[in-house]
Amino acid sequence: MPGSKLLTLPHDKDSEADLWIKAATVLAVLAVIALCAMIVVAALPALFSQTHTPFEWVWQPYHGHFGILPMCASSLLLALSALIIAFPWALGIVIWHLTEEEPALSWARKAFGLFIRLLTTVPTVVLSFAAVFLLTPLLRTAFGGTGMCLLGATLMVSLLILPTMVLVMESGLAQPLERLCPQGLALGLSRYQLLCHCLLPQSRTTLLQAAVLGFGRACGDTLLPLMLAGNAPRLPLHLTDSTRTLSAHMALVTANEVGGAAYNSLFAAGLFLLGTTLCVTLALRRLARAKSSGSTV
């Protein structure tokens, strides 16, 4: 902020922060460092364990196999498949929301903004609860089995990440579109044409931001996969297979104490999850920087 910088005199005792403000800042930053450090340190014994390595494809705690690779794979698979559904859907919604020109529908446009805001805050546990008793029976009659499968979790996770993605896309596209509008509309183009043919091809960063954020959210969510995906610890080969994500695995292992080596794999799982979301965060910051330093369209 150039404004506040201007008003700060260098080395002035009066312009220093109160002690509690400094302490609070240090505390907050230290907490983040402690969180990361603790997870890493706790995971080290598991990573270098010779007898119970977490890097295998079998999870059979009573036979000494503590592999978490199937859970890693299914976490990534779930996040990617949810993204495949949610991304085009979110894009469609944003295109509609920014280009609806029918005056009769302007109330719908306004209401929809609030609706999306509210959707971001629906508790995941409520979403899962509704889906367990509504979607799972449907899947059961459609595909047989228990109805607890990757497909159900994927559908609900895509619904979960959709509003966030819509908000990110809109915040990146709305202003540039308004800037293009006076000239564009004067040329006889519609808002839809401006958005889809002029703006979207140049907005790769915004779209990528939305996708990466959605991916991170989808990886980290616990309740939906835990309640909907069936929790069988194996690699899902089909959309109707039961599967277990890393987050669900962590919840299950802490709930049913199995023993030392199982705990170790828990920390390894936590580390993998933390690493994934850390990469997502860093990628998002990079994208945001690229955007602010890049073209202004």
């Binding site: 404004g3 603790m38 805050t121 959709l162 933390l274 850390l278 910051r285």
Partner: protein, 295 residues
Amino acid sequence: MKRLLPWLIRLAPLLLVAVCAILLVFLLQQGLGSLSPTLLFGNVPPLQAILGKAPVWEGLWPACAGTFCLVLLTQALALLPGLGCGIYLAEYASPKKAATISLAMDILAGTPSIVMGLFGFTLIVCLRQSFLPNANTSLLLSAACLSLLVLPVIVSSCCEALRALPRDLRITALALGLKKRTVVTRILLPQASQGLAAGLILALARSAEDTAVIMLTGAVANAGLPAGLWDKFEALPFAIYYTAGEYQNAQDLTRGFGAALLLLLLSILLVLIAHVLERRYLRQRQGTHAAGCSR
């Protein structure tokens, strides 16, 4: 094709609204009938239940009380660090320090809640192995982990609220000879109070709904009313999760739907209040929405 296109695009939002409407109608249809004092207190007289004189076995009251305590404790723990950090970020930090702080907050905001829960769980495991062998997962631990979860929300909304204040305010106050810390705590903070309140309410909603953290740090299904900081507790989101897997009869299930509806209404209400406050605040400040407080 040209005629059809607007209608094709309208399908996307329509589909979303339809899906949400189906889910909501389903919840309402199953849960609305159960919304009564019986849902909360079972067949215990409400007054006795609230005063803790009679235990409630067949109601959500212990879970509601647990969530209430948890949320208040979380807010108490997160309030000062959150506000302090937000103030520092907005008013004092040099660009380099601001980059560090916002990086830390971004990392925290991106961390899945189950990892926060794992952090708390690890903490307890360490404490038990070292100098507190009796330590166990508890209300205080859950609140501490949840306060980590809501910290970025409070920090970024505090920072945004301060940055939305007009520059003239600062210049005038400084020109009058006030010290910077007086300007911040006596003038800027009161002026930004509505924006701060919006952020705090948002944090409230966030801590009320999170399930993954408390699952790993001390929520249980049958604890009764929260007994103390060091005891296990019941919470509304955990009760919902537990009901989905372990319900015994139709009555349990109806109570689960009631709980889900209750939690949904609570979080929607909180977020609506926060939204209205934030909109009003930003409109008063002529919508000067400053960038730089990343969330």
